[in-house]
């Protein structure tokens, strides 16, 4: 009975948590707006949003493939890649974080960060976005939020969940001709440190001096 008990407890926990692709409780400072098995929405007090989305993966879809796809398509929409780095989930699944800057149609500067995890069954994104002035507060928190997220959908004997990081070329991706605003030169300079994750981390820490 003692041997069976841990198994029973594990089964009970699994049943309680369900077979969702992810598991994330609202991080500190965020309140849950909505949740279902395909995603969740959370809101911070300063209108910064945190969003989880689950997409089905396909055969051959890896972290590198989807990461490059994400960056290329967001670039077509005038999102400027500032930096990217590897991250890990609560259950040690590797992922990648991408930080973007963006100017909306009203001319306001925004920050946008997305953490991407890829398993055999799912693609899971954690997005956080808000005013550019809040970038220093929330962008460095994304690895912490990712480390609180359980990611499911990995299969045995496959290496999708251990896939290599996307190889994004240093410098900004090519923008479409109808872009109305040139990227900030300071942000452009930051991309030179993409190849060095540690340098990126240090840069993020430096920019995340607590403002409040």
């Amino acid at each position: 009975m003692q041997r069976i008990r841990p198994i029973l407890i594990w089964c009970a926990v699994a049943m309680a948590t369900g077979c969702n692709a992810y598991r994330l409780d609202p991080p500190k400072g965020f309140a849950q707006v909505s949740e279902d098995d395909r995603g969740a929405r959370m809101k911070a007090g300063d209108d910064v949003g945190l969003r989880v989305d689950v997409f089905d993966n396909v055969e051959g879809g890896t972290l590198a493939f989807w990461g490059e796809d994400l960056v290329r398509k967001l670039a077509q929409r005038d999102y400027t890649l500032v930096s990217h780095r590897p991250i890990k989930s609560d259950n040690r699944k590797p992922g990648a974080q991408f930080n973007f800057s963006y100017v909306n149609p009203d001319g306001k500067e925004k920050f946008f960060s997305v953490a991407l995890f890829v398993t055999d069954k799912y693609r899971i994104t954690l997005q956080v976005a808000g005013d550019q002035k809040l970038a220093g507060k929330y962008q460095p928190r994304l690895p912490e939020i990712a480390s609180e997220t359980k990611i499911r959908g990995c299969k045995l004997l496959t290496d999708i969940c251990d896939g290599e990081q996307p190889q994004i070329a240093p410098g900004q991706p090519k923008k479409p001709e109808k872009a109305t605003k040139e990227p900030d030169t300071e942000l452009a300079d930051d991309t030179t440190s993409e190849e060095d994750p540690q340098a990126t981390e240090l840069a993020d820490k430096a920019s995340s001096e607590p403002a409040g």
Binding site: D47, D69, R77, P105, V114, T125
Partner: protein, 330 residues
């Protein structure tokens, strides 16, 4: 006395039948080139009935394919059975030579006439053998009931339906260009609403028109469907042909009607045929129009420089759901 007379009369009739069958049975007008074979076929047979069966048999032989062996035609000593066999063979030959959907029940006018010419005319009209009055018959190459130039692949009839969704920078200008587009390809605009157009374009120009439309902006969605309606088209053609034939025959019968009652009956049948014919012709016209002119549904909307730029054939549009607009709160 009377009781004795009846069997005598029957015997006399039987004897006359045998004599006639055993004698020169070759008809006055033998329509086969090998008329001897016809007479040989009938001579020496043991007919139990009168001329009726014999003459009918010869007449029907005329309509059968010439290469049919005699042995296949005469397989029984019973006239009734032989009549059934000949009828089956006649129907099979008719099915080969004439169009399908010929009337199964013989008309009342299909009777043996002493005059061979009249019989031939009537029989031929009923069985659908050589055509009359220019009506299409089995011998002529089947022609479409409605002239059309829509046969594309190996004579197939395909109905094409397409739809496109295009993001443009100037909706008014794009709508004007889209409205003028079908006219250049001999098409026309079927439905027009702000941002929505349904145009009919000749099938052969459909893809070209879609490629030209794609240059108006960014294509969000592009779809095309093809539906093969050849079977239905051919079926309707055949039915129109058969009904037209029947209509002609009925008109002929109407002109030969001797009593008002006969004329009324024929008229009723004719009206029914006319109604069916009109329905089929209407459906044929509709099909032909759909085949000749493809339907292209165009939806256009205006977008600004910061709107998402989805690719038209990207199978993974997942990134369209990501971004600042869908994440932050305002």
């Amino acid at each position: 006395m009377k009781r004795a007379l009846i069997p005598c009369v029957a015997l006399l009739l039987l004897a006359s039948c045998k004599a006639k069958a055993a004698g020169s049975v070759a008809p006055a007008h033998s329509y086969r080139d090998d008329g001897d074979s016809v007479s040989e076929g009938y001579a020496g047979r043991d007919y139990a009935d009168a001329n009726y069966g014999g003459e009918i048999a010869m007449e029907e032989t005329r309509n059968l394919p010439a290469d049919e062996p005699d042995a296949e035609r005469i397989t029984s000593t019973s006239v009734g059975q032989r009549w059934k066999e000949k009828r089956a063979a006649r129907q099979a030959a008719r099915a080969e030579l004439a169009a399908p959907a010929a009337p199964a029940e013989p008309l009342d006018a299909r009777k043996v006439q002493p005059d061979g010419a009249a019989t031939e005319t009537t029989t031929a009209g009923v069985t659908g053998a050589p055509p009359q009055n220019g009506a299409d018959g089995a011998q002529a190459e089947p022609e479409p009931a409605v002239a059309h130039d829509d046969e594309d692949i190996d004579g197939r009839h395909i109905v094409y339906t397409a739809a496109m969704r295009v993001a443009v920078f100037n909706l008014d200008e794009a709508m004007r260009k889209a409205e003028a587009l079908p006219v250049r390809y001999d098409g026309y605009v079927s439905v027009m609403q702000p941002g929505h157009l349904v145009v009919r374009i000749p099938s052969k120009h459909l893809r070209t028109a879609m490629d030209e439309l794609a240059e108006f902006g960014t294509v969000d969605d592009r779809r095309m469907q093809a539906l093969d309606v050849t079977a239905e088209f051919v079926d309707i053609e055949s039915r129109i042909r058969a009904l037209t034939e029947t209509q002609t025959q009925l008109l002929d019968l109407l002109s030969k009607a001797r009593t008002v009652e006969e004329a009324l009956k024929v008229r009723q049948a004719l009206d029914q045929i006319n109604t069916e014919l009109e329905v089929l012709k209407g459906r044929m016209r509709q099909l032909s129009n759909q085949i000749t002119y493809s339907t292209l549904t165009i939806n256009m909307y205006e977008r600004g420089p910061h709107d998402p730029t989805p690719s038209s054939n990207d199978p993974f549009p997942w990134v369209n759901n990501l971004g600042v607009e869908s994440t932050e709160y305002r």
